[in-house]
């Protein structure tokens, strides 16, 4: 058990070492959700810069902001707002969607 703890502690230490806090200038973006749709459906950001995305949910119902390529999965309460941090990206078109209303809630982050 003690050995297990040591291994566990070692692993945690390693994890913290790897979690260097890289602070760089950020790009702020915002998008809102209304009637289970994103507004606007396309947002633009410069490449290789950390992005802070504010998501405002104007619907009374909760939504889950999700994106596979951005690796984000976050619930936004009905009438609420949330902040999503996105790693610096290379140029491209990244899709995001509302997990609870995927048929209507879809948008793209264009990085250039």
């Amino acid at each position: 058990m003690t050995l297990f703890r040591k291994v566990l502690l070692g692993g945690t230490g390693l994890a913290f070492l790897l979690c260097g806090a890289a602070l760089a200038e950020e790009t702020s973006l915002s998008v809102s959700i209304k009637d289970h749709r994103f507004q606007p459906t396309e947002i633009h950001a410069p490449a290789n810069t950390p992005i802070v995305l504010n998501v405002k949910n104007l619907d009374p119902t909760p939504e889950e902001f999700e994106s596979k390529p951005l690796r984000v999965e976050k619930v936004v309460a009905g009438g609420g707002a949330t902040t999503i941090r996105i790693r610096p990206l290379s140029p491209g078109k990244y899709r995001f969607f509302g997990d609870y209303h995927e048929d209507t809630a879809e948008g793209f982050l264009i990085v250039e």
Binding site: M1, L3, F4, V7, L8, G11, L14, A15, L18, C19, G20, A21, A22, P50, D59, P60, T61, P62, E63, E64, K68, P69, R71, V72, E73, K74, V75, V76, A77, G78, G80, T82, T83, I84, R85, R87, D99, Y100, D103
Partner: protein
């Protein structure tokens, strides 16, 4: 209706599989079912609580609350699974012998079943909260008919059915082998959860290293498809993992396997001829 069913079922696959595995692992051990049931009940209660305070949770810790919460409960599940495996490595053999000898009445090992109850509770809590929010959204908006609500509950029922199927799929394995199979299952499950946990820390902007994508198989097997989801739980499959996730996954497996090997009692010589050919059950 089908849409709601699929959304809810997709969310509960992980919890369903984990409950099934936990039931199979502790099969025949007195009191284990109440531990698992307690875990599920606590998970449901927690899910309702998390859903009710979703907004506050999200705003906590400078908007990182949700990610930190998910990362910590997943981390807790990883530790519990690791502990369970290590405990089993030490005591599993005698437990298996008792199980096949006397059939059912084994009362030892309650400690490790607390661990499994926590794992089950955490799985139900995490996914349950999303299901609660989704169903709540349907009910509140009133824009979808009762058949959507019915679809959602049918999805839940399918999740429970998955637990049952997983359980019966595993218990056909003779007890002696079952421990070997479940320890592999539990190790992969733990590694997968560890990689999910680190991805939430990456999402929170806390773990910032190695964010490059390791591979992209979303075109072949997206991990929000049903098979993708099942593999996501069982072996930690992800269609676009980061390098950090890969590293954490591999590290978790190595650590658990090494720790298990270290505590395991020496392997006894081949069984005596008298017991060798006897079927386990």
């Amino acid at each position: 209706m089908l849409g709601a069913l699929i959304i809810v079922f997709r969310e509960v696959i992980e919890a369903g599989l984990i409950v099934g595995i936990a039931l199979a692992v502790t099969r025949g051990v007195a009191g284990s079912r109440s531990w698992i049931a307690g875990g599920v009940a606590a998970g449901v209660a927690g899910a309702l609580l998390v859903a009710a305070f979703a907004e506050q949770l999200s705003a906590a810790v400078a908007g990182r609350g949700q990610e930190l919460f998910n990362a910590s409960v997943l981390g807790l599940a990883v530790i519990m699974l690791a502990w369970h495996n290590i405990w089993m490595a030490r005591h599993g053999r005698e437990l298996a012998r008792q199980l096949s000898d006397v059939g059912h009445a084994v009362t030892s090992g309650d400690k490790t079943f607390i661990a499994l109850a926590v794992v089950v509770g955490v799985a139900v809590l995490r996914e349950g909260a999303e299901v609660v929010l989704f169903l709540y959204g349907i009910l509140v908006s009133g824009e979808s008919g009762m058949n959507v609500v019915f679809g959602g509950f049918a999805g839940l029922a399918l999740g429970a059915l998955l637990s049952v199927l997983t359980f019966y799929g595993l218990v056909v394995i003779p007890p002696r082998r079952l421990f070997a199979v479940t320890s592999v299952l539990v190790t992969l499950l733990a590694a997968g959860l560890a990689s999910q946990s680190i991805s939430f820390l990456q999402q929170a902007g806390i773990a910032t290293a190695l964010t490059q994508t390791l591979w992209d198989t979303s075109g072949i097997l997206p991990d929000n498809s049903l098979i993708g989801r099942v593999l996501h739980t069982l072996i930690g499959y992800s269609d676009q993992p980061s390098m950090m996730q890969g590293l954490v996954y591999a590290t978790a497996i190595v650590v658990i396997v090494l720790a298990t090997k270290l505590v395991a009692p020496p392997v006894p010589r081949a069984p005596s001829p008298a017991t060798a050919g006897t079927p386990a059950e």
